[in-house]
Symmetry: C2
Subunit: 406 residues, 2 copies
Amino acid sequence: MKSGLQFLLAARRSEITELERLSRSSALVGAVGALTHAVQRERGITNVFLASGGERFGPLRLEQIAQTDGLRQPVLDAFEALDSGPDHHPNGARLFNRIAGVMHELDGLAALRAQVAQQRMTPRAATEAYSRLVGGLLAVVFEAADSAGDPAIARALVALFNFMQGKEFAGQERAHGAAVFASLHIDAPQVARWRHLVELQQQAFDVFRDFADPALASVAQGQQPPGNDAEVERLRHVGWTLGQLAMDEGLASRWYDAMTARIDAMRATEELLASHLRSLCAHKIEEARALLQDEAALLAGSAAAPGAGDLPARLAPQLERSVLALVQEQSQRLQAMGEELEAVRATLNERKLIERAKGVLMAHRQLSEEDAYKLMRQMAMNQKRRIGDVAEALLSMAEVLPGKPR
Amino acid sequence: MKSGLQFLLAARRSEITELERLSRSSALVGAVGALTHAVQRERGITNVFLASGGERFGPLRLEQIAQTDGLRQPVLDAFEALDSGPDHHPNGARLFNRIAGVMHELDGLAALRAQVAQQRMTPRAATEAYSRLVGGLLAVVFEAADSAGDPAIARALVALFNFMQGKEFAGQERAHGAAVFASLHIDAPQVARWRHLVELQQQAFDVFRDFADPALASVAQGQQPPGNDAEVERLRHVGWTLGQLAMDEGLASRWYDAMTARIDAMRATEELLASHLRSLCAHKIEEARALLQDEAALLAGSAAAPGAGDLPARLAPQLERSVLALVQEQSQRLQAMGEELEAVRATLNERKLIERAKGVLMAHRQLSEEDAYKLMRQMAMNQKRRIGDVAEALLSMAEVLPGKPR
């Protein structure tokens, strides 16, 4: 049974290797989160700089550029370490492909900034270029999160990714609102886009709350600056009805400040989530190492046991039983972990189903994203079914739905 | 864009590493398949040896033991190589845990054979001990198959695993039938068990046909010895109605020979599948290496391009565009592979749903496995739905179904 124990230890070591990989992924996610936040700030500042014809935020922009560049190197180092590191990432091809995309955007940053400095760009085009970079950075986090083999870490990564995604939609809302307030005008598609960005934030934070440790989720709730919610709601209302209300040039600043305070608070939460993730990894590694030590001691004991030779029949039957019990206990634990991970994936898949069904409804019924979602929610309530079931039923009926895809 | 290209290459290398890992897993599966077949033969021979009070198959048994032992070392070597090898298996913990279980059974083989030689065991107990070893070996194949990241290889592995599983149910049917014919008596639970083994074979071979390359599936169909199907059907019918029919001591031999011919033919198919899997891996590795070379040449070209320095702005715009196109093309390809893999998993998950729903029906309605399956199939036909959807609906209603779980 010595040989059985040997592979029991190999299984444990394999778990530790996987946890160490997740720990490095978590560190990468931390560095990417910091850079993402800086790029989001640079995007917001650039937006105001361009919209004001270079009057406002000129020095602030240069300061922010320096800050962004300072946070760029740790990310490049982390990317480089992944490429030259010893471990084979199970999701490596997708992860490196995403990194290649980010490198392309980062390489274009100098040219983008030069155009901004010379004001040869619209605020909208600059926002789009910065958003592509942020999107690429988030895609890296997504791939890192997608392959976690430990259910608790997988949940924490999914929660963090969706929090970052929600924060990015808040950043896009800041840019969108700033452009509207700067022009002192809004049209129907702009209102729709704005409402959509608010809804996307809610969806992302809903997923965050579903997957996050409840204690962390409630801390996150409490980290918003007091009065910020009401101020943002007020300004949204003003923005969405700008046609009818008195115009006010101070609105752009108030909006920018309120959204920046909100997003900066989100960054604090994000750091908390990232640090929780790192300690979760560290704790799991420590735990697994302690168990490995116990088991290795058992293996050493079995080798040294009186009468124990190469033939297992000569091993103490008690030791053999205990090793078999360990193998079975390990098997049950791994099975339970696999099922838990399956449940995490099922929840994510359900969300994907809802997204796809929403797309089908939008195409076949010419509905807005918001109305498509509301319709599904209403159907679920009427039929007393979960919205995921409604989405699945809709998808299976997609071919026979009235109307043509757009 | 040189840096983007660097990570494009890293993605490609990561694909190759994963393919090489799958290639080693396929070699492991080949070795395990050979040992499994030998253990199945040893089980069948042992069964006849014990049932005949040591009269029959004595020398054949010793021959088979030598053959089994000869096939044991390559498997042990492959296990050892996995443990000391460089690559981290994404599924390593589960795989090594399964291996630990197999090592435990292999360690017990000498004691098992000693008891058989002294005829201190019932045929049934010996069959069960051998079946545990076979089950453990198949579990290793399952874990190796479960983590394939390439959809074509994943399908081939799923097909092979299910073929091996079907072959094992055929082996269990051989043992069960041999015991019945040896005792010249059958009772209702024995008939039910026998029918169940036939159904399990059909299910496993259905999955095999769903996932296998159609050309290979039809080759597999043709590899059965002529007339074998009819002979097995005839003997099954005799076995299931033994109470009513004339007894015949020659039946045990005829049954053993017919089933052995059938299982040996399956072994030939299994070797074909395993060799197809190995060439699939080799072909994919070759293909990916050729592409890597092309891309590396592009990288070398970009470094040597006139005017190309550290600043990407100075790179030839044409090269930059072509690299961006490569990144996007790679991204789309990986996305498509991910979706294909998702479809493979969905099909497997649907099968698991059907199994679970069958269990619920059996418990709540006191149905046999066969009747539970027939009921679901009937419901699916009546409701014009897929059987997977019926299974899902049944599971979601499990709490409100009439009757109590057993």
